[in-house]
């Protein structure tokens, strides 16, 4: 029999603590859309996406109604376009991005991901054309997301790709300069990119994935922050237990929604992504969890340790609650999307350097960070190379989503609106790494023994 206490706890989590399902993302394979003719490829892709995900939005709305749990975003991810669009030139890829946008708008979804390439070891013709098309594609679309994997622990870092991505990001910032350089918020540069990530901007449908699949990303920083607050003056062992139990409950809900969505759509279940994903809403912040744990201000000394414990406890609690866990799974620290991070950056407690250290122990990487618009390409490449090498050396996923805010300088702020929030422009180191970056080539894969 249902217990009143349990019922009230669940309802309180949803109503007061911003518990929600962040995203139900449907992965769709586009391998059967391959064609020599860009027009034909785009037509086939449009049909495949709109047919496969036809019921995605309506089914998610039914589930929201049935369980009373909000599903914030409905998204689609597709096979990386550079792989299925191989033969096309730059213009063909721009057209493909516009077709993705059209299909996504027709479905009524919030984002579509997969306009990307995997270039950790080198560029195929298609990958090269796609990467050159990213700035135009991102400026002419609203909800198409792009990701490029430039490194992996197995093969090392493709520094030619890193050096190219600095220019791509800079150019995208310029092209979308009138809109706060928002195009850059839809581009992620990855190391060790996962195949089944439901979160944007990095979602794509990996090569070994089934024809279609449902991946679900849960959220819930507000619930964890409140649980930590209620735990009161306990030691860290007890606090870790509290976080684990809370993560378990959040993830069970994600698994329930995933099961139900799969049943109603007739699509196999992929994974639940156990991430703590913040939103700009007050009380839905990962930074506030850290501050609730006792770190005076996020970014101060002790932050990395608190974040490491939080990240680990979330995974441990969530793992048992789901039959398959995947994606990025961990605590996200996107600066512009987290009210606590914004406050910490604005008062100077949180710096780019500290964020970099934090990414070594948590999910994703340097995420949604605005930097001055006049930062040089090689400095952006340096930021990417540093972050990517953390992922490669530690056998984990890391990523960079920086926004060189056109016409802005350190101390200003950029407003993106919606889930993307507001980014304080953070200062970067002025020293020039251009000689290092222009060397190009491949940083070899790291050794896997003699670890320290």
């Amino acid at each position: 029999m249902l217990n009143t206490q349990d019922i009230l706890e669940t309802i309180n989590m949803i109503r007061e603590e911003n518990l929600d399902i962040r995203t139900v993302t449907m992965g769709i394979s586009l391998f059967d859309c391959v064609s020599e003719d860009p027009e034909r490829f785009c037509a086939k892709m449009y049909d495949k996406i709109t047919k496969s995900a036809e019921k995605l939005v309506s089914v998610c709305e039914e589930i929201e109604k049935t369980y009373g749990i909000p599903i914030i975003n409905k998204r689609v991810s597709v096979t990386p376009i550079s792989i299925v669009g191989g033969a096309m030139d730059r213009d063909g890829y721009v057209k493909a991005a516009l077709t993705m946008e059209k299909a996504a708008q027709a479905l009524g979804i919030n984002f579509i991901g997969g306009f990307g390439a995997l270039v950790q070891k080198g560029f195929s013709k298609g990958a090269s054309a796609l990467v050159s098309a990213i700035p135009q594609a991102m400026s002419e679309t609203e909800i198409v997301c792009s990701s490029v994997n430039v490194a992996s622990t197995k093969v090392g870092i493709n520094m030619d790709a890193v050096s190219l991505m600095g220019g791509v990001i800079k150019e995208t910032a310029r092209l979308t300069g009138d809109r706060g350089s928002i195009g850059c918020a839809k581009i992620v540069v990855f190391a060790n990119v996962p195949d089944d990530n439901p979160f944007m901007a990095g979602a794509f449908h990996g090569m070994g994935e089934p024809e279609t699949v449902i991946n679900v990303g849960v959220s819930g920083p507000g619930v964890v922050a409140n649980a930590v607050r209620r735990a009161g003056n306990c030691n860290l062992t007890q606090l870790a237990e509290t976080i684990k139990k809370t993560a378990f409950k959040i993830t069970r809900m994600g698994q329930l929604v995933a099961n139900e969505a799969c049943k109603r759509l007739g699509v196999p279940f992929g994974i639940v992504d156990l991430s703590l994903a913040p939103t700009p809403a007050v009380g839905d912040s990962v930074a506030y969890i850290l501050e609730e744990m006792g770190v005076g201000k996020t970014g101060g000394h002790g932050t990395t340790a608190a974040l490491a414990m939080l990240n680990d406890a979330v995974k441990k609690g969530g793992l048992m609650a789901s039959s398959h866990v995947g994606g990025l799974s961990g605590a996200f620290i996107p600066v512009s999307e987290d009210a606590g991070m914004i406050a910490a950056a604005e008062c100077g407690a949180l710096t780019l350097q500290k964020l970099e250290a934090m990414t070594a122990v948590c999910s994703v990487g340097l995420d949604m960070i605005a930097i001055p618009g006049d930062v040089s390409e090689s400095v952006i490449c340096g930021i990417i190379a540093d972050e990517i090498s953390i992922g490669v050396a530690n056998t984990k996923t890391t990523a960079v989503r920086v926004i060189p805010a056109y016409g802005k300088k350190a101390g200003d702020s950029v407003e993106f609106g919606g889930l993307l929030g507001k980014a304080p422009v953070m200062p970067v180191s002025p020293y020039d790494p251009s000689v290092f970056i222009s060397r190009g080539g491949q940083i070899p894969a790291p050794i896997h023994s003699l670890k320290n």
Binding site: E62, K65, T66, P210, R252, V267
Partner: protein
């Protein structure tokens, strides 16, 4: 080989409220300022929609009213969404918050 891909994709099952044989339940929570006729209103909608009330607990703290009602759905003559909408409407008329949620969300969160 091609058809085997289709084979592993399980056919869509019917939505929970359409499945037969199992007794699906929903939890209705009503919160707000106490007025007359709250239970009458909620149970009236339940009766019209064919939802059978199996448990009610309520408390009134000062002027504040809170009720949790568990209903069984196998005899429902309308969709879950419609049922939830009607209760929500009723709540709006009476200045209350009425939320209807499938019991599975509580079971999955609090039972292993």
């Amino acid at each position: 080989m091609v058809s085997s891909i289709r084979f592993i994709q399980k056919p869509a099952a019917k939505p929970a409220q359409e499945r037969t044989g199992t007794k699906m339940k929903a939890v209705i929570t009503v919160t707000g300022k106490d007025t007359t006729g709250i239970i009458a209103g909620v149970s009236g909608v339940c009766a019209e929609c064919g939802a059978n009330i199996v448990d009610i607990s309520q408390s009134v703290l000062k002027e504040y009213f809170a009720m949790i009602m568990v209903v069984e759905l196998s005899g429902m003559n309308t969709s879950f969404g419609n049922f939830a909408d009607r209760l929500e409407e009723l709540g709006k008329d009476k200045g209350l918050v009425i939320q209807t949620m499938h019991e599975d969300i509580f079971n999955s969160m609090h039972r292993i």
